[in-house]
Symmetry: C2
Subunit: 343 residues, 2 copies
DNA sequence: AATTGTTATTAAAACGTTTTTTGACATAGC
DNA sequence: GCTATGTCAAAAAACGTTTTAATAACAATT
């Protein structure tokens, strides 16, 4: 049906080896006439090489597997989008798997993708609460013998390729911004503190407090589940402590705060300032627009793919590399100068 | 490195044909001992068949290409997520391409995916403003000789496989809902009316007006670009006409209305009702939550994949099938009884 | 005229599978 | 004792490429 190299060879009156040599522009002596004949035949037949066959012999498919928890999570959707763009620019295709944060599904996809001959795998997965699950993934990754790039903190070891955000600095600049506006009683709506990234955000937050000589009050830190609806149940605890600002450890929870505060007729930023983390698409659409700590996803995605491409071209040294990116503060309308007298 | 069928054969002391027969559980006479030996060897070596090689001989890769305009568009991200889930349940993997609404990129991915031996392609693309572009895509699709499933209205012909929403009904139920609340001057913030889907939404809207004996006033229909920021420029025109409700043809533009109305101190739904279309994730988070027309993406995704799977198993009759799904009205807090006296 | 060297092309092996055909050996029927 | 009939297993071809080694043709050197 689809023309193969044989068809081109027959049409051009040469052997298939010649066709291959010409198509790949190999540095072997070939007469101009032969080249022209082959190119013409290929053109006329609309010949396109079968990548399956090529992959079988070259062991390269120019395909990268991407395993993320959930593409309906807009953060990952945005990341995926940037990764796909970066991949395409470097000549790679992306094959997608949703792990739903399940170690089984992660392992499933690791194998599935390896079976399909992907050149590398990008894995977005934070630690599992059960260390055994993490170990399972680690084992699977090791057994694969394929480059794996982590874009979240699955393993604590430094000996893996990774592209990460500096979460400490993220927490730090968020706190610094609020402190600069005069806030001293700042609530934290944290993510699960079992996860390294959130520990680090909190540590950065504390560092900023310390530098401003504000005592750290653990009662002002509550834990959420990263979803919007986790804001409502814990908000009263913070309000009771008279916080003048709340640092939500991701934008989704900040949205939850918006909803609940609005229900309570507490105004943002007049009565309380809110700052988020991630800079999702909607943060700029919301009313008032959300001040937040942005992750430079485009740069990170580019870094992921160019590093992988480097590794695959075998231009990387033996050392594995962890690249850490700096977050960027986006000041919008949800934070303002502190107006409460209570220091 | 990775064990192959040969390694299993050697270890089990049989031929590779036997290994293949056993692994695929073929209905051929094989002694239980042989089977056991093969299975054991495979298990011990951790053998997993190379899907590239299998694809080369069977012409099936269990991979489906998905071409969408933009995965950072949360509507498509959600659809992609459902499609991936449905695909995985049926044993397929999804390979992803962002077309950015460019015909060139669409054609690029059509070929790229075909080269990689995908079994089918899912194409989310509305018509191009330039009919020549549409023709280009059509030609590429035809030349592929691979099943292509449309999940948007690229071609007007009925002779393609497609899974679509009943946009007419969507427009109809949105209007009906507002009319039921007593609204008679209803503004439309439409999408580009060059696109069939929006024409149909508008037609459904008009139908509902007609049934309620409300004259259709073209001055109440303005065109947006589907993005949030297209609301602000056209809102004054609608307000001047004293609309008591606005039907935004997608949720993103409804969000734009929220922002602009809030800036103008016009309250939703007290002063004006707003209804959207799509039911994006955020519509339930917003304050007030957005009444909207939902697309049953999970059902549609399942329908896409099960139909494709049917076609690929060659169980489909010769006829191509267009499946149309009914939208669902989600009544939330952004619409209320009309309080203006102006009829 | 024999050797060496270029240049252009091809043959053949390999990649890891599936699948069809062939073959070896027992057992049963005549 | 010979042919038919079953079992089981292996051989071999095929899928569409790349790549290395081989070869052929011819010119240039001795």
């Amino acid at each position: 049906m689809r023309p193969t190299i044989k068809d081109v060879a027959r049409k051009a009156g040469v052997s298939i080896s010649t066709v291959s040599l010409v198509m790949n522009d190999r540095p072997v002596p070939l007469s101009p006439e032969t080249k022209r004949a082959v190119l013409e035949a290929a053109q006329e037949l609309g010949y396109r090489p079968n990548q399956l066959a090529i992959g079988l012999v070259t062991k390269k498919t120019n395909t990268v597997g991407l395993i993320i928890p959930d593409n309906s999570n807009i953060f990952f959707a945005a990341y995926t989008n940037h990764l796909e763009t970066a991949a395409n620019e470097l000549g790679y295709s992306l094959i997608l798997g949703n792990s739903n944060n399940s170690a089984e599904k992660t392992v499933h996809y690791l194998h599935l993708f390896a079976d399909r001959g992907v050149d590398a795998i990008i894995l977005a997965q934070s630690e599992f609460s059960d260390p055994e699950m993490t170990q399972k993934c680690l084992d699977a990754v090791r057994s694969l013998r394929i480059p794996v790039m982590l874009i979240d903190r699955l393993f604590r070891t430094r000996s893996t390729e990774a592209v990460l955000l500096d979460h400490f600095e993220g927490g730090y600049i968020a706190a610094q911004h609020l402190i600069g506006l005069g806030h001293r009683r700042i609530g934290c709506l944290s993510g699960p503190l079992g996860l390294t990234s959130f520990q680090e955000r909190l540590a950065g937050f504390c560092q900023a407090l310390e530098e401003a000589d504000i005592p750290y009050d653990p009662a002002l830190v509550v834990e959420g589940n990263l979803l919007a609806d986790s804001a409502a149940p814990v908000l009263p605890a913070l309000l009771k402590r008279h916080v003048s600002a709340i640092f939500a450890f991701n934008d989704m929870m900040a949205y939850g705060l918006y909803k609940e505060l609005s229900r309570m007729k507490i105004r943002i930023p007049e009565d309380i300032s809110v700052i988020g983390f991630d800079d999702l698409f909607f943060s700029d659409v919301l009313q008032p627009s959300l001040t937040t700590v942005a992750q430079p996803l485009d740069k990170m995605a580019k870094a992921v793919m160019s590093r992988l491409s480097q590794i695959l071209r075998e231009e990387a040294g033996g050392e594995s590399l962890t690249q850490v990116f700096r977050p960027v503060l986006k000041v919008r309308d949800s934070t303002s100068v502190c107006r409460t007298e209570t220091a």
